[in-house]
Point group: C2
DNA sequence: TAGCTCAGTTGGTTAGAGCAGCTGACTCTT
DNA sequence: AAGAGTCAGCTGCTCTAACCAACTGAGCTA
């Protein structure tokens, strides 16, 4: 009867006092008194809020209002996807389709409306991608930056964060599951095409470019990965 | 050092044993022994997992693998939005724009591809909406059902859930903040138009219909609401 | 003045006791 | 024999009290 209430009351504390991200919360003893609950209960409530990203706890330092990022959502999505995968569902594919559906919709609105500065940045990113491909390095981070920069023009921080969250969740699961790596040269070419299409202002072409990019990833997914004996989630059934 | 690990180990327990949603987890004493930690630590880990929807705890009954729904994401999004709002940000508008961006993208792909059965169901929903409008009742639930049914044709459970989560978060915040109510007749007309457009298979028209629908909501948002003295988050600064 | 040390504050962990909700079997009544 | 009420047992919930561990900053030392 108390526990659920405690979380709610701490949340209201943050709202009512207009505490911004990073503001310090009262230490545990003060919260105990304010909430009229034991340390244990207070801590359990804080743990739950921490898991939701509402609160940030730093050992030996204090408790603070969290960054309100979507990190917990990534966590949840990733776990849900991994669990589904191991139960034989196509959860990873669904996650990829979610990204594809959203991004194809957005890119067609974006075509021709991206500020020149962003286009230059995107050029640089694809260049870097090509360098990395030539050197045999991983492109993951650059790929992430490309997509993030691409949708920056939408001028909606929440939307950008959600897209990045989807990206993060997908790639976390992907590496956890040890999928088949992309051919870096193909990936580069596809990103170049997306950029060109967006620059040209041809919405349909941009959409098609995105779709092809995801199609490529999808093909790699459905290829049954060579069984990796180092996989962390073996046996132990 | 332990706490973060405990969550991880419980998650691995679920993964490794391929536990489906609803499967029972070991009771607290058993977990204490298995994890080699005290009751308190185990409980804190479980609370955090519960907040992420990974685990479901029923007092006096047991602990179970959670439904893996996106409910925690709704919670987080809603809180983030409310907190931002009270700090003077346009977070609610951003949330609405997120929905608009995603739904306009999806509906154009959907136009003309919705199964007849779903169209019939959508007809019934708009009819009900009109009845409710005439009776002066709330349309929220019917509106939710309309959007849910509309995107069912995408055949991606995850995508549907994400859209519903966005809807839920938006409406939770909206009622929390006591916004200006829509004119029900306008809302009905707009849903009818969306349905007609989708049925006709005209992607552009469908997109426009969705955009107009959201535009209507947006207008109501930016209208500064008459100050409601019953608002839960008054004063107390 | 620069660096170190240590005391104080804050969160992390453990232990043990008792409370509270739910289930299912047992018993008593009809 | 069938039904309703009771109670024993699991389960999770809350509290108290003590100690451990990380970090900060003031004060001391060189």
């Amino acid at each position: 009867m108390a526990a659920r209430d405690l979380q709610e009351r701490i949340k209201r504390l943050i709202i009512d006092r207009r505490l911004p991200s990073g503001a310090p919360l009262p230490p545990e003893p003060a919260l105990m008194e304010y909430l009229g609950a034991s340390r244990n209960s207070v801590r359990e409530a804080l743990k739950a809020l921490q898991a939701m990203g509402i609160v940030e706890i730093r050992h030996g330092f204090g408790t603070y209002v969290g960054p309100m990022s979507l990190a917990p959502m990534i966590e949840g999505l990733a776990f849900r996807t991994v669990a589904g995968h191991y139960r034989g569902e196509d959860s990873l594919l669904q996650l990829l389709e979610l990204r594809e559906a959203v991004e194809t919709g957005l890119v067609s609105r974006l075509a021709g409306r991206i500020p020149e500065a962003d286009l230059v940045e995107l050029d640089a990113l694809v260049d870097r991608m090509e360098h990395q491909a030539a050197r045999g390095a991983g492109l993951a981070e650059t790929d992430r930056a490309f997509h993030a920069t691409l949708y920056r023009g939408l001028d909606n921080a929440l939307l950008s964060e959600v897209l990045e969250a989807f990206w993060d969740a997908f790639h976390r699961v992907r590496t956890d599951l040890g999928g088949v790596p992309q051919d870096p040269r193909v990936t580069c070419r596809q990103h170049r095409e997306i950029l060109d299409a967006v620059r040209s202002g041809d919405a349909r072409r941009a959409e098609e470019a995105i779709r092809e990019h995801f199609g490529n990833i999808r093909d790699r997914l459905s290829t049954p990965a060579p069984h990796d004996p180092r996989s962390r989630h073996d046996e132990r059934v």
